[in-house]
Each structure stands twice: as structure tokens, then as C-alpha cells.
Amino acid sequence: MNASLYNTIGQWWYVHGLPPWIFEAAWMVAMAALVTVFVLLSVLVLVWLERKISADLQSRVGPNRVGGRFGPLQTAADALKLLLKEDIFPAGADRVVFWLAPFVVFVPSLMVFMVLPFGERLAVNDLNLGVLFVVAVSAFPVIGLIMAGWGSNNKYAVLGAMRAAAQSLSYEVPLVLAMVCVVVFAGSLRVGDIVAAQREGGWFILRFPLQLAFLLYFITAMAEVNRVPFDLPEAESELVAGYHVEYSGMRFAFFFLAEFAHLFFVSAFCATLFLGAWQGPWLPPAVWFLLKSYAIVILIMWIRWTVPRLRIDQVMGFSWKLLVPLGLAAVVLTGIVKVW
């Protein structure tokens, strides 16, 4: 549907002799807006899902009033409340940095969705360096976290920011190594090509050395989105709330949105890289895509509500002493298998 719409409008445009790049740009802006709306709505669903899943795991009921028996509108109500709250700047905060931080976190977490194929040709822009784009853009939010922590003029926030920086630097390495395995296997950095490669030879998770890469990706992805057992930057019982301890209202909502958008992204990207993306029998591609993504999301939530939190040095040691060597081994192994 997407492809045909693109062709129809595009043809009309060319026939009328208008410059093609305006059409391309407008198309991209429209798709980006669409994806943004989709992501924001997904976040509402995800937050609700997280509450319901955690409630179920903890033998509680969870949201059960707003919007019916299962509280589907609870998150929307909470979001509305956050919008209406007073915007507080802590005394002694670095106002500009404090003001800017939520956006530095939020915008990249939306940008990464631009290369994600929601279905066949259903990506905003399937860059030929898609994977690199994802890795590069995901490097930004951590700067936002540091800005938030430092700008708040709060020691807990600074500790949280330092943890975020250390953790993100450590886990980016195995994350990239895991992606390198996939890229080597697919022979392309373009996300579309990676999906195509899985159409021919089956899901990447089923091909020999890539199970290791999947495991690495899954673990590091949990660390990248700061989820238990890697939620140290915001460890509630230690640092109260970490880097966003001083944020309230709208600004807090931005962090929250970014966190869940990022969670959805890493899950969706996981499905794209390893689980054959939108491909699947009978159901429409977009449905398959969502099913797989949500399966990973639920898995991450399940883990979050089951295990305790690690200590910062254990987190770092885990990455440098185990994941990085494993990642290197995975890359070498993938190379060997590929050359064979």
C-alpha cells in the first residue's frame, strides 16, 4: 500500500514537471511524522503493558479504572497530568543545559526509527548505512543524560549521569560487535538488505554463530535502555532516580517517552536483525513486525521484574571481561563461517 501510494503521487508529481526532490523531502517528512505519532502511541501502550505485566508478576491487579476494566487509558491520563504540572527548575541548576537535556535524549530516540522497516518498503528512509546510522544516533542520548545529571546540580543526578556514561561506553562496544556479526553475514549495512538476506536463508537467529550475536545484542540492548539488571543510572533504591531526579512534569515526561521509545526500538531492531523483521506467513507484514517486537519487549519486561540489580563495577566487569571478548570471538567466528 505504501509503495503504491508513493508511486501514484510520485508519478503525478513528475508528470507535472515539479522538481523531484521536493516530493522526496515532503514524502520523508510525512513518513517521519507518521512514525513519530506511531512511536508516541506505542509508548502509551508500552507503559500500560509494563504496568499490567509487572502487576501480574507481582500478584497485583494494576491499572483497572481509567477507560474500563483493564485501565487502558491510565497512561494517557498520567501523561496528561504530567503535561499540566508545574515546570520546576531547581535552584542552582545550569538552566540552559537542564532545559536542553530532555530534547537531546528524546530527539535521537525518535530519529533511530527512521531506518526501521515496519514492513516491505515501509521505512522512512532505508539508508544504505542504516545500521551505522542507528549506532551513531543511539550514541546521543547518553550525552543528554550527562547533561541532565550535571545540569540538575544534584549529587545523585551526577552519580547517575556518571554511571550512565560509563555503562553506555562499555556496552556500546559489544553492541556494535553483535551488529557487526549481522552485517558481515548480510554483507550490507542497509537494513533492507539485512531483511532481504533473512528472506533467502531463514532468520539470522537460526544461523550458526549468530545465536551468540543475538545473545550479546539482547543483553547489551537491555543495558542500553537501562533496564534491570542494568538500571544503575536511575537505581531507585540507591540514587533515588539518578539523572532525572530533579525533573518534573513535561520534562520528566520527555525522559519517560524517550526511555520507552528506546525500549521499543531496541526490541524492534532486535526483531529486524535476528527474527526476520516483518517477514512471516499469513499475517500482514506490519502485524508480524509488531508481534515480534512486542515479544522481545515483553521478554525484557519479564526479566526486569524478576531479577535484582547489579552493582556498577559488576556491570562494567560483565561487559569488559565477558561480553567484549565474546563479541570479538563472535565476529571472528562469523567471519570464518562466512568465508567457508
Binding site: 548505512l129 549506532v135 551513531a136 550525552i143 550527562i146 549529587k155 549521569a161
Partner: protein, 195 residues
């Protein structure tokens, strides 16, 4: 009259010849202004943060030259890695209570001399070269060619560099570790006070 002017603008707007220089000027300013602010900021963290737009603009310049891979790596390594490291180091070593440090200007004289010297060399080089302007030649598949080059003729050099970098990484860890850190709780005073 007005119509023809409008035509000129219209045509230039829709051809690369208007946008390309504009983007170049914007990105250049995006490099230069933050760079000056990095040097002049009194606040260490602000200085480190100003690096960010500076480096992103450099990545933008790479993009304009059709070097997407380089742009991506620029952002990944410099913004995601180096700036974070700098921020980390600043926050760890610098007092949290007093964010404003004096920018040390004792070496102002030498700084000016050095800057003038560099500027002279650069200007001389610039004046010698004949610069072509205009939109870049469309370079297709830079990445692919880069990959072919790295894994083809230069594979040995590539591997040697990788090994050297790995060795440097391990070496720096060994140096940074220093002596084995004392085990927590194994403080001697604890034991003697216990009895």
C-alpha cells in the same frame, strides 16, 4: 522586473547551486562558532558540551562531501565516545561545587604566536591551490569501495592496525589498573579495633 528576479531566485532555489553553498556556510558556522565557544567557555562542562555541535557540523560537512560512512563514524566515535569520555573525566576530577574555573591566559602571547604561524601556513597553502567549486561529483558507493580497499589490497595494514589498537587498549588497562586495588573491608584498623 520583479518577475524576473523571482525567476532567478526560484531557479536557484531549485538547483543545487543555491542550497549547497548555503548548507556549507551554515555548517561551517556550526563548526566555527562552537569551536570558539569551546575555547572561551569558563565552565569546563559547557566547553565540553560545545564540542558537540562542532563535531556534528563536521559530520554534516562529511555528508556534503558524500562520505556518509565517515560522517556516521564521526558521530559515533566523537560524539558518542570522545565527548562522553571528556564529560566523564571533567565530572570525575573537577569539583562539583564550583563549576566556574578561570580560563588560564598566562600563555596568551605564545598562543597568539602559534595561532598566527598556523594561520600563515594555512593561508599560504590555500593561495597556492586552485579550488574548484560547485556541487560535488556524485560518488557512488563510497562505503563499498572503502570496504573493498580495506579488505583487498590493504588488508594486511588494516589487520596490523587493529592488532596495535587492541594491544594499546589492553596496555592502557594494565597501566590504569596499577597495583591491585585493596579489598574493601580488609582495612587493618578494623581488625585491631574489634578486640
Amino acid at each position: 522586473m520583479i518577475g524576473s528576479l523571482w525567476n532567478v531566485i526560484w531557479n536557484s532555489v531549485f538547483s543545487g547551486s543555491f542550497w549547497y553553498p548555503l548548507a556549507f556556510v551554515c555548517l561551517s558556522l556550526g563548526v566555527l562558532i562552537p569551536a570558539v565557544l569551546v575555547a572561551l567557555s569558563r565552565n569546563m562542562v559547557h566547553a565540553a558540551l560545545w564540542l558537540l555541535p562542532c563535531l556534528v557540523s563536521v559530520a554534516g560537512l562529511y555528508l556534503m562531501l558524500g562520505a556518509e560512512l565517515l560522517a556516521g563514524i564521526q558521530i559515533l566515535v566523537y560524539c558518542g565516545g570522545i565527548v562522553v569520555l571528556i564529560l566523564f573525566a571533567v565530572m570525575l576530577t573537577h569539583g562539583l561545587g564550583d563549576p566556574d574555573v578561570r580560563v588560564h591566559n598566562q600563555q596568551l602571547l605564545w598562543g597568539v604566536v602559534a595561532a598566527m604561524a598556523v594561520a600563515g601556513v594555512v593561508l599560504r597553502l590555500l593561495s597556492q591551490e586552485i579550488w574548484q567549486s560547485g556541487p560535488p561529483v556524485a560518488v557512488s558507493e563510497v562505503t563499498g569501495r572503502l570496504a573493498d580497499a580495506l579488505l583487498g589490497p590493504y588488508v594486511l595494514a588494516f589487520e596490523v592496525v587493529s592488532v596495535i589498537l587492541l594491544a594499546a587498549l589492553i596496555g592502557s588497562i594494565v597501566i590504569a589498573r596499577g597495583d591491585a586495588a585493596p579489598e574493601p573491608g580488609a582495612d587493618d584498623s578494623d581488625a585491631e579495633a574489634g578486640e
